[in-house]
């Protein structure tokens, strides 16, 4: 069940991090939510962020595509790079950043539009398709990649909100894929889904691995163990420990990590 093998392809730049955080601090007003976190994220890996609720893992995730910008009281310090460029540099364009770093949310949030328009929305605003046929292809390919094509190809015009919860979440993943991102952030993508839907989404994440750098926040240690190659454990805003998933779950170096994965708190 555990796919621990981290394949190193010498042809890709897999040893330079796709995204790197250095000494990142996040404040909500006076509340110091994320404390001095440094973490490298690689292109061909799935990285899990685990930890008890309120530990800052979601907050950290939302720094990676600057979704925290929408919160007025939020202040981010430190340095986060994408392919070596600081994403908080004023010259960096947040619209392009978010296209390159896609995001999937805890609760499926399809737009109240047709399935087709849900997927086509991103490519349309970014101008990724010159013609209607291009757009049709992007929609089809995205849905195929998200494993949803066979289920919805006959009803692309029906509203996205009419799908089941698991389908909605895969629609949201397809929607993120459609703008051709390099990184996909997932904020507890399965927490609102039943076990069968969860299994499908996990299988999908496994499929997508290697094509996108995937960072997933999860409260389920089993899920982290199943799908990720790297795991980072957060506690009270600190990054306690990070490393290969097998190592974290079999021989954690820190006592807090051990206590957490053995279920002593959390």
């Amino acid at each position: 069940m555990l796919d621990m093998a981290t394949k190193v392809d010498p042809m890709t730049d897999s040893r330079t991090p796709k995204m790197a955080a250095k000494d990142v601090n996040v404040f909500y007003g006076d509340n110091h939510a994320v404390k001095g976190i440094s973490l490298d994220l690689y292109r061909d890996e799935v990285t899990s962020l685990i930890g008890p609720s309120g530990c800052g893992k979601s907050t950290f995730l939302r720094c990676l595509n600057r979704m925290n910008d929408t919160v007025a009281t939020c202040r981010v310090e430190g340095n986060i790079t994408l392919d070596g460029d600081d994403i908080y540099d004023p010259k960096i364009d947040v619209v392009q950043l978010r296209a390159r770093v896609g995001m999937v949310f805890q609760k499926p949030n399809p737009f109240p539009k047709s399935i087709y328009d849900n997927i086509a929305y991103g490519p349309r605003i970014h101008g990724l398709a010159r013609e209607r046929t291009d757009l049709d292809e992007i929609v089809a390919v995205s849905l195929e990649k998200a494993g949803l094509w066979n289920e919805v190809k006959d009803r692309l015009d029906s509203p996205g909100t009419a799908l089941s919860g698991g389908q909605q979440q895969r629609l949201c993943i397809a929607r993120a894929i459609a703008v051709n991102p390099e990184v996909i952030l997932m904020d507890e993508p399965c927490s609102a889904l039943d076990p069968i839907a969860t299994a499908k989404v996990e299988a999908l994440i496994d499929e997508l691995k290697g094509r996108y750098a995937i960072i997933i926040v999860t409260h389920s240690m089993q899920q982290a163990a199943r799908i990720s190659q790297k795991t980072a454990f957060f506690h009270m805003g600190d990054l306690v420990e990070h490393g290969d998933t097998t190592q974290i779950f079999t021989s954690p170096k820190q006592e807090r990590t051990r206590d957490y994965i053995t279920g002593r708190f959390g």
């Binding site: 364009d93 619209v95 392009q96 296209a99 390159r100 605003i125 970014h126 101008g127 990724l128 292809e137 992007i138 390919v141 195929e144 990649k145 494993g147 703008v179 051709n180 390099e182 499929e207 094509r211």
Partner: protein
């Protein structure tokens, strides 16, 4: 799935894509600018409206007076020492005060001799001067025989001239104040006889055809009487309805109908309530026309939905735990409501009621329908006297042709707005003082 086609990597750095992104940002900025200008435009309208009225209205509180040396001649007024007090009073009441004024002005302007000119001269003084002189004599009969400098109200045109609303440079034919009068006015002004004073009469008298004599006290009293009736009907009925719907009403069709009904009534145009008042209160019940009691009844029906809706909201905000606690002590449902829920909800209910009353105070159209739009000089003293109301007075004055009524109208609006601000301020204060976090 593994054989699906891969996308080409997006070249974000291409000039084409860069230009596109710039364009998108520009559109976003434009959109934001549109939003800002919408808010600013709304604020600008508000400031223009209030500013214009405040500027005109400020002058309405001032009035021009002319100091005239009046000789209270025995010949015209009679000798108080030579006759009984009653006989003197009778004599003064019938005395021709215009002659008194005429003589005083002749002394001031000996060069004016023709009858027509002297009449124009008298017309520079307000028609109210006669009453003012008469009152003076009746109050102190000893004044007869002496010469006093009396401060008399100027006529409205002279007042407008003093306030700069009439342009002396304008061609005579287009000017309300003719050249001759202008010369007389200048002479009086040079002698320091013309003055601009705070106009207390504006607050103490009823309506008049003459702007300088017209006041808002009659309309204010009419509004007050009307609101008293409104309050005494709308408040109890509104609160009892809210209590019933929130605390006792069963979930059935009738309750549904009542609720939908209240929501719809809240949006019925006010003039329709006026038609109801006309047809029912005047047509069927034969209540007196133009009376505050009818106005009050009509406005009560109109404000009822506002009070019910806000009272329901504040009753709903009282947590169920309070009801449970009271019920646990053996209180009957009525006692739970009247001893516990209603007192706790009272600040909210009062806030809603004050806002409803403010609405009623500003309402005009329904009052037009029930005849509270007549020209009424007397101050109403009771609920069945003919009366008008502040907003209706504003409407009437706004319709008057005299220029001087413009500033009177604006001044009356300022008074009305002051009342409304005070009421809304009270409501906000109440809400903040008693706001409770459960």
């Amino acid at each position: 799935m593994s054989n699906t086609k891969e996308f080409k990597p997006t070249d974000w750095g291409s000039p084409e894509m860069q230009a596109r992104t710039r364009r998108r940002y520009r559109r976003d900025r434009n959109f934001k600018a549109m939003g800002v200008s919408a808010v600013l435009l709304a604020a600008l309208f508000l400031f223009l409206l209030i500013g214009k009225i405040a500027r005109d209205g400020a002058m309405g509180f001032l009035q021009t007076s002319i100091d005239i040396d009046v000789t209270f001649s025995e010949e015209i007024l009679g000798d108080p020492r030579a006759m009984s007090a009653e006989a003197f009073e009778d004599h003064v009441r019938q005395a021709n005060m215009i002659r008194l004024l005429d003589e005083a002005l002749t002394t001031e302007f000996p060069e004016v001799t023709s009858r027509r000119d002297r009449r124009s001269l008298i017309r520079m003084i307000s028609g109210g001067a006669r009453e003012q002189l008469r009152t003076m004599v009746l109050e102190t009969p000893a004044i007869v025989g002496s010469t006093r400098t009396v401060r008399l109200l100027a006529a409205d045109d002279i007042d407008q001239l003093r306030k700069g609303k009439i342009d002396a440079a304008e061609e005579e034919a287009n000017r309300k104040v003719k050249d001759k009068e202008l010369a007389w006015y200048r002479k009086l002004d040079e002698e320091g006889r013309v003055s601009l004073n705070f106009h207390t009469r504006f607050f103490t008298s009823g309506d008049s055809r003459d702007p300088e004599l017209a006041g808002i006290w009659g309309a204010t009293m009419g509004s007050a009487l009307t609101l008293v009736v409104t309050l005494f009907i709308a408040f109890p009925v509104g609160v009892l309805t809210a209590i019933y719907l929130e605390e006792f009403a069963p979930q059935n069709r009738l309750t549904d109908i009542i609720e939908i009904n209240i929501n719809n009534l809240a949006a019925v145009p006010s003039i329709v309530f006026g038609l109801l008042g006309l047809a029912v209160f005047l047509g069927v019940m034969h209540l007196p026309r133009s009376a505050p009691v009818v106005g009050g009844l009509t406005l009560a029906l109109m404000t009822l939905p506002t009070i019910i809706i806000s009272a329901r909201a504040s009753i709903k905000a009282v947590p169920p735990s309070i009801r449970d606690a009271a019920r646990g002590l053996g209180a009957s449902p009525m006692q739970v409501v009247f001893h516990h829920v209603v007192p706790l909800a009272m600040p909210g209910i009062l806030t809603g009621t004050i806002i409803g009353m403010a609405q009623a105070l500003g309402e005009t159209a329904p009052l037009l329908m029930i005849g509270m739009v007549a020209f009424i000089v007397d101050i109403p003293g009771g609920f069945t006297d003919a009366a008008t109301a502040l907003p209706v007075q504003i409407f009437l004055w706004a319709d008057s042709p005299e220029r001087a009524f413009v500033e009177k109208t604006s001044a009356a609006i300022l008074v009305l707005l002051t009342f409304l601000i005070a009421m809304n301020g009270l409501a906000i204060w109440l809400r903040q003082k008693f706001e409770r976090q459960w």
